[in-house]
């Protein structure tokens, strides 16, 4: 569905379902140079199993208008505004990579509005190498190729986002190119990476967060290694870790494992 958030037209995937105030809500937040469609399987499942699903395209990404968020905090404020626009007082948040930082920041700044938190493919701090930061600005297509390789760990993934026969290297690359093209200035990649790199409030946010936290990590993740997640895992007061045999694109390389972990964790 389309709605207006902060004065901008915002696309929010709901699996074709109308928002129902009587149902619990779960928000899925995508990562850098991605959009709502990276959650295609998990969002459909929850939308058809008793939940309101809100999977927005972040501002400036694909179907959503506006400027791409310059910081994690700005993106978290956007999610808050999205919840406000729909009158949602409290929701479960699921975020991948950059999206996990956004969800964490919101859980820290407004603990009363987050019922549960799922951080997929995460690390705090989420440092990006200077070379990759520079490449994402000046040679974004080359940076896409590099990030795409770092984000995948297998040449024989299971049936995934488009069903059997999906080639994830290709589909992830095509999506990143599409998102890049949605920003006429071509800076959206760099903006996202810089926001990740600059975010320093993660540990404090986790200390303020009141909810249970599920970490879903990829044992072969080269972007946010399980080791890099240990610091934030240790700060979670009620944290649970599920490690899956996958790379950074966990939702695509291990769609069933991610779904099962979330099914076990998320409660209406």
């Amino acid at each position: 569905m389309y709605l207006t958030v902060n004065g901008h037209t915002t696309y929010c995937y709901t699996s074709g379902k109308a928002f129902d105030a009587a149902k619990p809500t779960v928000v899925f937040i995508h990562g850098v140079l991605n959009d709502h469609s990276v959650w295609i399987l998990q969002t459909r499942y929850f939308a058809h199993h008793g939940w309101n699903v809100l999977a927005p395209d972040l501002p400036g990404h694909c179907k959503s208008a506006g400027e791409a968020p310059q910081s994690v905090e700005e993106a978290a404020a956007f999610i808050t505004a999205l919840l406000d626009a729909l009158g949602v007082q409290k929701a479960a948040l699921v975020g991948h990579s950059f999206g996990s930082l956004i969800a964490l920041a919101l859980a820290g700044s407004a603990p009363g509005r987050v019922s549960q938190l799922v951080m997929v493919g995460t690390a705090v701090p989420m440092k990006v190498s200077p070379a990759l930061l520079e490449l994402s600005l000046n040679q974004p297509l080359k940076a896409i190729d590099m990030v795409n390789v770092f984000s995948h760990s297998m040449l024989a993934p299971p049936p995934s986002s488009l069903g059997p026969g999906t080639w994830l290297y290709g589909s992830s690359r095509a999506l990143m190119k599409r998102v890049l093209a949605s920003d006429p200035a071509g800076r959206i990649f760099h903006t996202g990476f810089k926001a990740c790199n600059d975010y320093s409030g993660g540990e404090a946010a986790m200390e303020r967060a009141a909810c249970e936290v599920l970490f879903i990590l990829g044992s072969n993740d080269q972007m946010t290694t399980p080791r890099a997640a240990q610091s934030i895992v240790s700060k979670a007061k009620r944290g649970k870790v599920v490690t899956l045999e996958a790379g950074h694109s966990l939702m695509l390389e291990a769609p069933e494992g991610v779904l099962f972990a979330m099914k076990d964790f998320l409660r209406p």
């Binding site: 399987l41 993934p157 986002s161 059997p164 095509a174 599409r178």
Partner: protein, 433 residues
Amino acid sequence: MPGYSDPGFDTLALHAGAAPDPATGARAVPIHLTTSFVFESSDHAASLFNLERAGHVYSRISNPTNAVLEQRVSALEGGIGAIATASGQAALHLSIATLMGAGSHIVASTALYGGSQNLLHYTLRRFGIDTTFVKPGDIAGWRAAVRPNTKLFFGETVGNPGLDVLDIAAVSGIAHDAGVPLLVDSTLTSPWLIKPLDHGADLVYHSATKFLSGHGTVIGGIVVDGGSFDWEKSGKFAELTEAYDGFHNMVFSEESTVGAFLLRARREGLRDFGACMSPHTAWLILQGIETLPLRMARHMSNTEKVVDFLASHPFVSRVGHPLLESHPSHALARQLLPRGAGSVFSFDLKGSRAQGKAFVESLKVFSHLANVGDCRSLVIHPASTTHFRMTDEALLDAGITQGTIRLSIGLEDPDDLIDDLKRALKAAEKAGA
């Protein structure tokens, strides 16, 4: 496990889509000859039908062996995914039927495989889909042929029968200006010679019967989506961008930003038209693809030797291969197809229809049959076989003379191929005496 750059072509040809079988440890791809797959529970069944979980339900829609083939060809073409079909013609039909219905229009190259030409010129017209044919090199003609109801541009990487090379970048540019995708048949080139998606095509398909399989054993097809065409921005494809009553009111372009075509093609096209591939066929094509790089290199080197031989033979009036400077697509082929423009080409004997027949009947190594892209060398004489009903005038219009011979160069010792041709050319000359 991938390293710090994309795996290379030869690695993907062996490994993309396949890992040791977790249940048995089998290293080769297992053949899953089963119609159906047991559900874990009612909820699992419902989730599979509603695309909440990815998996196999029924082998008309998907199958684990076919999925390996689909991933592998996608990887080799640089696509996002693929759908294996019963034949190359089924892949073409599936592509068209997914994108349009009655009242739509296609702009297509004149240089097409006969079966494709028949489908567009006769069969689809019966179903209300009209086609305008344009010579592949007539760039202005492609643009002029666009109508408000145009939904697709279509051509072959190297067109039948003259091996006209399609300027994919130029033609796709015009297609995109018109808000429609370019579909390319890359059967005669295979991804080893050219990846059309890299040059601007949006969809690519193969008759996998030919070089992908490579051994003349099975009929199959496959269509690959590049994921680059923006169906919503185009505004011409309600089939992909509006709720579809026939599948849970799904809006395919909302479900997947880059994969709407594949979602609908599998959920509607395979489900309803049913032109699926047998898993056994998929396995045989996979066997072929494992050696595709090696075979294509040999196809190209043998072709070069045979073309050189024929071009200098006094009883040959024309050799239609872009390797030769005299070919109209020579320069474009060097640019787009640096490894070669394929091993299927025609040449003209200086002789009658009877001499053409004599030539074919004198060959010992080349097999006289109606196929191309086999590991064995093949030959056919169009005037006495595929085009035998046509008048001399109609043949000339199609670029075929009484002495036109089509060859598909295989993997034999090149000296044996040349000896065979030499002997047959002599016999043809004698037949005219």
